[in-house]
Symmetry: C3
Amino acid sequence: MEKIVILGGSFGGLTAAFEIKRLLGGKAEITVVSDDERFVFLPSLPWLIMGHRRPDDITLKVSDILKPKGIDFINEAAIRIEPDKSKVFTAAKEIPYDYLIISTGPHLSFDEIPGLGPDKGCTDCTFTLDHAVKTNLSWKKILDEPGPIVLGSAQGVSCFGPSYELAFEMDAELRKRKMRHKTPIFYLTSEPYLGHMGVGGLGKSKRFFEDEFAERDIKPIVNQAIEEVTPGEVRLKDGTKIPFKLAMIAPPFKGVPAVAPLGNPRGFIPVDKNYRHTKYKNIFTIGVAMAIAPPEPTPVPTGVPKTGFMTVTMAKTAAATITSEIKNEPLPTPEELSVICLMDMGNTAAYMKASPVLPPRQEVSLKKGILFRSLKAAFEKYFLWKMKHGLANLP
Amino acid sequence: MEKIVILGGSFGGLTAAFEIKRLLGGKAEITVVSDDERFVFLPSLPWLIMGHRRPDDITLKVSDILKPKGIDFINEAAIRIEPDKSKVFTAAKEIPYDYLIISTGPHLSFDEIPGLGPDKGCTDCTFTLDHAVKTNLSWKKILDEPGPIVLGSAQGVSCFGPSYELAFEMDAELRKRKMRHKTPIFYLTSEPYLGHMGVGGLGKSKRFFEDEFAERDIKPIVNQAIEEVTPGEVRLKDGTKIPFKLAMIAPPFKGVPAVAPLGNPRGFIPVDKNYRHTKYKNIFTIGVAMAIAPPEPTPVPTGVPKTGFMTVTMAKTAAATITSEIKNEPLPTPEELSVICLMDMGNTAAYMKASPVLPPRQEVSLKKGILFRSLKAAFEKYFLWKMKHGLANLP
Amino acid sequence: MEKIVILGGSFGGLTAAFEIKRLLGGKAEITVVSDDERFVFLPSLPWLIMGHRRPDDITLKVSDILKPKGIDFINEAAIRIEPDKSKVFTAAKEIPYDYLIISTGPHLSFDEIPGLGPDKGCTDCTFTLDHAVKTNLSWKKILDEPGPIVLGSAQGVSCFGPSYELAFEMDAELRKRKMRHKTPIFYLTSEPYLGHMGVGGLGKSKRFFEDEFAERDIKPIVNQAIEEVTPGEVRLKDGTKIPFKLAMIAPPFKGVPAVAPLGNPRGFIPVDKNYRHTKYKNIFTIGVAMAIAPPEPTPVPTGVPKTGFMTVTMAKTAAATITSEIKNEPLPTPEELSVICLMDMGNTAAYMKASPVLPPRQEVSLKKGILFRSLKAAFEKYFLWKMKHGLANLP
C-alpha cells in the first residue's frame, strides 16, 4: 500500500487528503502532518479583525474532520525533509513516504525588516488566526483613541486582498461611527500601482481602486519598500516616514524552513504543470509554497498570489496525478488556474475573476455590488461545511 | 454696555453683527466699519460677468439693513488697529472697542506680479463687483471678436471656484453661439492638479474635472506660477507663454493692510478654535482674513478656500463666543467647518460637500445635475432676503 | 469646352467627377485617371481581414459607374505632371487639362523602415484591398497557431482608426473562440497617447481607449517609432523588441511620386481653403494627398487623418469652386471639415464626431453602443449604392 504524506492542514493539505482518499480508497495510507490542530477559513480573518466573526465561527479541528475519513493526523511540526531517502522528520518522528505533498503555505518573514511584526509590538498582521485575534484588539483600541491607520504590504508580499478589504471595511465602519475624519487611512504597498495585486492588473482594476480610494479618501502610497518600523512610525526605503497609531503590515513571504531547501533562494519550490517537483519526482508542492514566476518583474518585488481557490485547484490536480500514477493510468491534464475573489468593501462588495491567473487572459471580470457580500458569507459557510464532511470534490 | 466693533460688511461682518444683536439685544453697542456701502452676493459675480445678472440684482445697501436692527454703520475704511489700546482708526475717527471682529476678506495683491490686474489694462478679475462689471464688458467684446481665453489663478490664490465656474459657463455659452472653435479656453492654475481647490482633492474631484475638461476641450495648465503679464500674453515662471485675448486672472491673496500687522507674513491672522486671536484675547478673526494652514504644502503655493458658507459658520461661532463671555456662560463648542459648493457649469451644475474642510474627512460628495443650477439661483434669492431682514440665524 | 482631369478613382476622385458633371452637364469634358480599375469601400477592409466581407462585397468597377454618366476613364497610372504646361502624363499618354484635381491618396512608404511591409514577408498591412486579402490569410493562420499579435502604426502615419478597430475586433473574436489567453495583443503607435488619432484628443477619447484597452487586456505601447522589423520581431528606436506571430503595421505616409513634386518635402500638396494649389491656380488637391498642418507637433511624427468623409466634403468644395469659376460666379464658401467615424469594436461599436477637425472644436461626441455597428454596415451599403449610381450629391 502506498504511503502518502501531506504537509499542511489548510486548504491545500485537506483537499489533497480528501481527494486521494476518495480516488484510492483503502489502497493508500494517507497522513497529514501539521503543527496547527485547526483548519481556519483564512478569507474571513478580516471579518474577525473587524469584530464580525469569533474564532469558533471560522475554525474546525483537523483531527475531527480527518479521523472519520480514515486519514491519519500527526499534530507536530515537520522540521526536515530528506528527499533522497523519501522521509519527513518531526522533532520526534521519522515518517517515510512514497509520495509527499507539500502545502505548507508561507513563512511570514518578519525578521527581514527591523521592528516589523506582532512579536515586536509595533505592527499587527492579518494572516493567521492568532495575529488576527490580536489585531482585533488593536482595532477596538483605535475606536476608543482614533489616529492614523496604515494598511500595508512590505516588499516580497504575494497576497494583497486582505489589506484592500480591511481598508474598505475600516473606512466604512469609521464613517458609520462618525469618526472617519479623526482616522486617516494609508494604504502602503509594494505593488507598482493600485489594483496590481501581484499579477499585473486585472482589466480595469487600476482605475477601479484609484477611484474608490479617491472617493473614500484612503491615501495610497504605492511602489514602496519598507526600511524599518519603530513604535508609531513606518520608515520607507526612500526616506518617507509614515506615523501611525495602528499598522497592519504584511511581511515578506518565504518558504517555510522545513521545505525551503527544496526550493529557490526564497524557499519557493519549482514544479511542473502537474505540481511535481522539477527534480524529485515523488514530491508535489501546491499553494503558496510553490514557485510561480511573476508576469513581469515589478520595481519593488511582489509575488503572484495563490488564493485558497487556486490552492484547492492545485490540490485536486496533484491528487489526480498521484492516483493516476499509482493506478498506472494516463496523467490528467491540469485544470487552468483562475483567480476568483469576493472582496468585502464594508458598505458594498466586489467580485473579481481573472482566467487564467497570468495575462493575457481569456476572461476578466470586475463587478461591484452589495450582493457579493452575502455571497461571500454564504461561501464561507458552504466551504466550512464541505471541509467538515470531507467533501473536497464538490465544486 | 460692551462696545463691539466689526470690520467688514460682507458675509462674515453682517452675520456676526446680526447674531450678536440677536443674542445680546440692547446689552451691546455694535458698530460695523466698512469702506463699501454695499453688500454684494459674491457667488453670483460669475453670472454677472456672463450677463445673467445686473449689479442691482445681487446688491444690498448696508446702511439700509443695519439701521432697522439698531446697528451702527461707519462707511469709512479702517486704516489701523492698536490692539494694546483696543482702538480702530479710520482716517477721521478713533473707535474704541471691547471686542473686535475682523472680517475684512482678502487684499487682492496684484502688485506682486508685473502687469497683473484690471488697473494695468491687461487682465480682468472676477472677485469684486467693480471688477466683475468690467469683466462683463471684456466678455461682450470677446463675443464680437473671438480669441483665446485664459482663466487663471496666480500663485497664492485660495479661491478657485469662480474660475472653474466661468470656464464651464463660457464653454457652454460659446457652444450655444456656435463659436467655440474660434475661442480656445485655457484654465491656468497654481493647483497641483485639477480639482485640488486648495484643499487637496475632494473625493473623485480630480477625475471629475479632468473628464469634464477633456470632454469640453478646456486646456488645463496646472501647477504653475505666473512671472508677468504683458498685453495679450501670460508668461509663466517656467518660460511658457500663453497668448490671450481675454484673461481673467486671480491675484495672490494677502491680508488687508489695516489688519495685516496682526497676522503672519502674508497678513492672515492666527486664531484659536473659537476664532480668537492667539495673542489679543478680545480680537476675533473670521473668513479669508483668518489663517488656516494648508493640509499639505503644494509645489506652487495655494491657500485653503474660505467660502461664504464657511465664513457664516465662523461668524456664528465668534458671535456666540463673545456673547457667552459677556454673559459669563461657558464658551460654545465651535461648529466644524464644511465646504458646501453649488457650481454652475453652464449647461449643467454640480454640488460638492466636504466635511470637515481638511482631510481626512467624514463626508465627501460630488454630484452633477441640472437641478443644482436652480438650487443655486434659489439660494441666492434666499440669502439676499435673509440678509435684507437681518435673519442671520436662519440656516 | 473645359477639360477637367481627375487623378484617383476612390472617394475623392469619383465624388469630384460626379459633382462637376452634375453642376456643368455637357459643358465640361471630365476624365478620371487611375491605375486601379476598382473602387474599394476602404472602411470595410478590417471586416474583410476578419472574414466578414469578401472583396466583391465592397468593390465596384470604376468604368462601370463612370461610363453611364458620360465621364471618361483612363485606367493607367499617372507618372508625371507638368503644371506649367497643364499636362498629365501616363506611360503612354499625354493628357492636357484646364483644371486638374489630385485625389491620389497616400503613398505607403514601406521602404523608410527596414523589413517593413507585406512584400518583405514580415508584416501585413490593412490599407489596400490586396494587402487586406493577404492579411486575412495571416489572420486565419493565427487562429490555427496562436501567438502574439502586434497592431501598429509607424512614425508618420495619419490614419489610426483601422488599427483600433482591428484590435477590438480581434480581441472579441479571440474571446469568442476561447483562445484569447494564447494570443497577447499589442497596440503599437506613434500617437503620444491612446485616442490621440493624429488630432490631439477628441473629448474623452484618451480615457475611453485607455479604459477599453485595460478592460480587454490590449497592451498599449505609445509614443514610439520603429527602427526595423525582422521576421517575428518589431524593434523600436528606443531599443524595445516586440515579438510577434502576426503584425499589421501601417507604414509612414507620403504623397504618391507622380504628384509629390508639387508638394512639401513629404509630397503632401499645400492648398488654400478651397483646396486650390497655393501656386498653380488650376490645380486642386483633396484627401490624403493634401497637406494639413498638425494641431501641435507630436514627439513622434504623426499626421492629421483625412477620412473618406472628409475627402468627400473636400471633393464637393473643389468641384463647386471649379464650376463657379467656369460659370463666372462667386466662389463658394468651403464647408468646414468634420471627422465622423463609426468604429466597430467587435462586440460593440462607437460613434465619434469632431467638428471642426482641429481643436478647439465646436462639437465633440464619443458614444458607445452596439447599434453603431449596424449603422456602419448600413452606411457601407448606402455609400456603395450611391457611388454605383453616381449620386455623389446625396448626403
